[in-house]
């Protein structure tokens, strides 16, 4: 298996790892600046099956029950074109894609 390459680290929930047949983290080299939009563009380019699963196909709006965490912060409401924290952009911290709690 080819070792993962790329600077930005992304973790995915089990359903999406299984769907995309991914073990462990995804490493990506998104376009600069590193934003949610460029990271997700790179993620979907690498794994086209994830198109529509994290954000809407057409509007690119985050699906309502998907969350983005990093540095113990909820980045879900960050504007798609806003730069991600330097720790995420440099790979010191992963960007976590999370399936939101269902409650109950």
């Amino acid at each position: 298996m080819t070792p993962p390459t790329g600077t930005v680290r992304v973790t995915l929930p089990q359903h999406l790892r299984r769907l995309a047949r991914i073990d462990g983290e995804v490493r990506l080299d998104p376009a600069e600046p590193v934003t949610l939009a460029t990271v997700l563009d790179a993620l979907e380019a690498r794994h086209p099956v994830l198109r529509g699963a994290v954000r809407d196909h057409d509007t690119h709006r985050r699906r309502p029950f998907v969350r983005f965490f990093a540095r113990r912060e909820d980045l879900s409401h960050l504007a798609p074109d806003e730069p991600l924290p330097a720790e995420v952009a440099t790979g010191r911290e992963p960007l976590h894609v999370i399936g939101a709690m269902a409650g109950g």
Partner: protein
């Protein structure tokens, strides 16, 4: 050796069940796509090892999975269901306009002759078609624009297109059914559509009981040898049309209740029908705690309960609209799946029943392929 393959979609995954022609000993494979809602699984009549599954969930949306080896392995195909042009609005529950939004695929209907052609009935109600084995999906928008879609209003289960009846020999003729809107028919492969609800009576549910559009049709079925005869389980009432949906008449007859979801036709007896009466629209479980499939051998009106092997006390499950199937073996098999997770088979046309499985997640759909 002939046999059957039963495709079961549940709230938490899909299952593939196989047996030889006796339909006594079953191999159960799955869950496939564990944790996802599998609204429907279907096999291609043209290429039986090609299977389709609609995989969806509130978190991560819609996927379509395809198998080309009878369900052993699956691969995701296209999942982009974009309405044609600006879809506009339909009615919301409060009567205000609401944008048309894709939610999920309720039903997949493969072509009887072309393994790469498959239709998808979706929520919000629309009909899509793929001609490339599921890679891409294109809406047939005239159904919404000519079927008065801007006035459609969802029922409690969502505004879904749940039934696609393909004519057995004429690929241009299609009937579809939309929850809380009714039946629509095209004779030109989807270029033009017209409502086909004349004769339906939804008194107590609709302000205009015989409106052209607005009937809550739950399921349609037909026998391939008589394509102009279509049977319907409506919200209330079991009905039939003998002129391809031009007019309908009620055939509920002596059923204990004519509310229900699925309806099926015997493989070799075009006037033998099956329904599962459910208490009412406010009590979605069988009357008296007894799960009874009812059979008419005379095209409706006169019905007999089929109970042997089905629970006859303390049973409060439902059988959803896509959760009945019939095989085409010489002794026609009948299959139902319940919201309690049981899948029952009758290998003798409904006389005797046995459970294939008893403890699945709630069953959303059951299809059967007859393998020869």
């Amino acid at each position: 050796m002939s046999g059957v393959r039963v495709l079961v979609g549940t709230r938490k995954g899909g299952f593939v069940m196989t047996a030889d022609g006796t339909r006594r000993d079953w191999t159960v494979d799955g869950p496939f796509f564990g944790g996802w809602e599998i609204f429907h699984m279907a096999g291609s009549p043209a290429e039986p090892d090609r299977l389709w599954a609609s995989q969806s969930g509130g978190w991560f949306g819609q996927q379509i999975q395809r198998s080309d080896d009878g369900g052993r392995t699956w691969d995701p195909v296209g999942n982009h269901f974009a309405y044609a042009g600006d879809p506009g609005t339909h009615q919301w529950y409060d009567g205000t306009p609401h944008p048309w939004e894709f939610a999920r695929v309720w039903h997949l209907e493969p072509s009887p002759v072309d393994p790469d052609l498959v239709y998808a009935g979706v929520e919000d109600a629309a009909l899509f078609r793929s001609t490339d084995g599921g890679a891409t999906w294109t809406e047939l928008p005239a159904l919404r624009t000519q079927g008065d879609g801007k006035h459609w209003q969802p029922g409690a289960g969502g505004m879904c297109l749940h039934t696609v009846l393909l004519h057995p020999t004429d690929p241009d003729r299609i009937h579809v059914a939309v929850s809380a809107a009714g039946v629509f028919r095209t004779d030109d492969a989807g270029a033009t559509w017209a409502p086909a609800n004349r004769g339906l009576d939804s008194g107590g549910v609709l302000p205009d009981a015989t409106a052209e559009v607005g009937h809550c049709v739950h399921r349609l079925a037909r026998h391939p040898s008589r394509p102009d005869t279509i049977f319907m389980q409506k919200h209330w009432d079991v009905c039939r049309s003998d002129d391809a949906g031009g007019t309908w008449r009620e055939i509920s007859g002596d059923l204990p209740t004519d509310f229900g979801f699925p309806i099926g036709v015997h493989a070799h007896e075009p006037e033998t029908l099956y329904v599962v009466p459910i208490t009412s629209d406010s009590e979605h479980f069988p009357p008296d705690g007894k799960l009874r499939v009812y059979r008419s051998r005379v095209g409706g009106e006169e019905w007999e309960p089929l109970t042997e092997g089905l629970p006859q006390q303390h049973c409060y499950v439902n059988v959803l609209r896509d959760a009945m199937a019939l095989d085409t073996l010489d002794d026609c098999g009948v299959y139902i799946g319940t919201t309690g997770g049981q899948v029952y088979v009758s290998p003798d046309g409904g006389d005797h029943w046995d459970a294939i499985v008893r403890d699945l997640p709630a069953v959303l759909s059951v299809e059967v392929q007859t393998l020869r």
